[in-house]
Symmetry: C2
Subunit: 200 residues, 2 copies
DNA sequence: TTCCGCATGTAATCTGTTACATGATTAC
DNA sequence: GTAATCATGTAACAGATTACATGCGGAA
């Protein structure tokens, strides 16, 4: 039920429309927590209203069709109870990690270093965005929020450090030594050759 | 199609059964890349075989029913092509981050520090697991794989550092200053009180 | 002989996205 | 006047999980 709670969290900052909420997930969050699409957002808002966690406090204002949602007492209680519960461990899906784990001897290392450079670029951009955000004098960020931003910053700095180290290692051919007790690396090459012969 | 590729990647290490693959995602990966359930694994293996990326090389061996899958030439090609493509940016879903962003003045900070301590504990365990893994002399890890492990290590170390910093900050009441240009913090408390009065 | 690990699979369900449909307001 | 942004919503589809169903082999 985590997405529903995130919606309650966004509304807790200030009464918001579905559109506002989507924006909050798109920009502020940029890569730090997950996004959501209108296709799931609007049905969920409807459900949260039916269940009494939120209410529409404004509708069809100034000729323009819009619904501003606000938390009810029940909504605040639910938010507090969610905040109190131990958060689930982070779930990370990192294709770069998977690809490195699967990288094999016949793959060009320059390709990998391109991937890492690209990742580095993304990290620099995000880091830049976050650093501006925390002193833009526009967003509401309380002291705990600052701790959260520091969390994101440290992780990105670690990513950057790793990227620099790794690019250097690849370019200077100073890769760390692996381990291969059953000689699977050699067997892998052999299996590849076999597959090739068989299928061609 | 990323999960399918991860399956090909696991088989590339050595011919594997569905059960083996599940295990690889469960243990080795522990929090570093995503898991998958039998409910999606077996249908995908079937599909990959139908499409000619993998073949069954052994079946019903030693009386026991089992299927060992191996990559075909087409499978190796698909794997190489996937490795060559720029990996998608990592997707992170971190409830702790969301909760901190939503933390408000009426919430007890000791609860938050408990959450962070729990997170710290998880990070220590994972770090310990990874450090043992990279010198267990049992797993096949090549030089690029070592780079991947270093990646995970650095991120976990950053997490640890942040946790220590943050717990200290909370306990010594030395929280970083936030920003609140529109005084939303005060308004939030007022909105809470209003909701309470209205609904009770 | 009973439990645990190995091993495969399906059906119901849940959760979310993409693409589509609609329309008002605002900035250029 | 026209493009971008604000704004809400649905239907078809994609993707994955949970729970269930089955059964062998080895260890205690």
């Amino acid at each position: 039920m985590s997405i529903e709670h995130s919606i309650l969290a966004v509304i807790s900052f200030q009464p918001s429309t579905g559109y506002d909420i989507k924006g909050e997930f798109e920009h502020k969050a940029a890569g730090l927590y997950w996004g959501l699409s209108y296709g799931s957002l609007y049905p969920k808002l409807k459900k949260l209203e039916e269940e009494g966690f939120i209410v529409t406090i404004e509708s069809e204002s100034e000729g323009r069709r819009k619904k501003l949602y606000e938390l009810t007492a029940k909504g605040w209680e639910e938010l507090d109870s969610w905040l109190s519960k131990n958060p689930a461990p982070p779930s990370i899906k990192d294709e770069l990690f998977m690809k490195m784990a699967a990288w094999h001897r016949e793959m060009d290392l320059n390709l990998l270093s391109d991937h890492i450079k690209e990742r580095r670029k993304e990290a620099v951009e995000l880091l830049d965005y976050i650093r501006k955000w925390k002193q833009n004098n526009t967003s509401f960020i309380n002291d705990v929020g600052m701790l959260a931003i520091r969390y994101a910053e440290l992780k990105l700095e670690a990513e950057l450090q790793w990227a620099d180290e790794s690019i250097l290692a690849i370019e200077n051919d100073e890769m760390p030594a692996g381990q291969d007790p059953y000689n699977l690396g050699e067997k892998q090459l052999e299996r590849r050759r076999m597959a090739w012969k068989k299928d061609h």
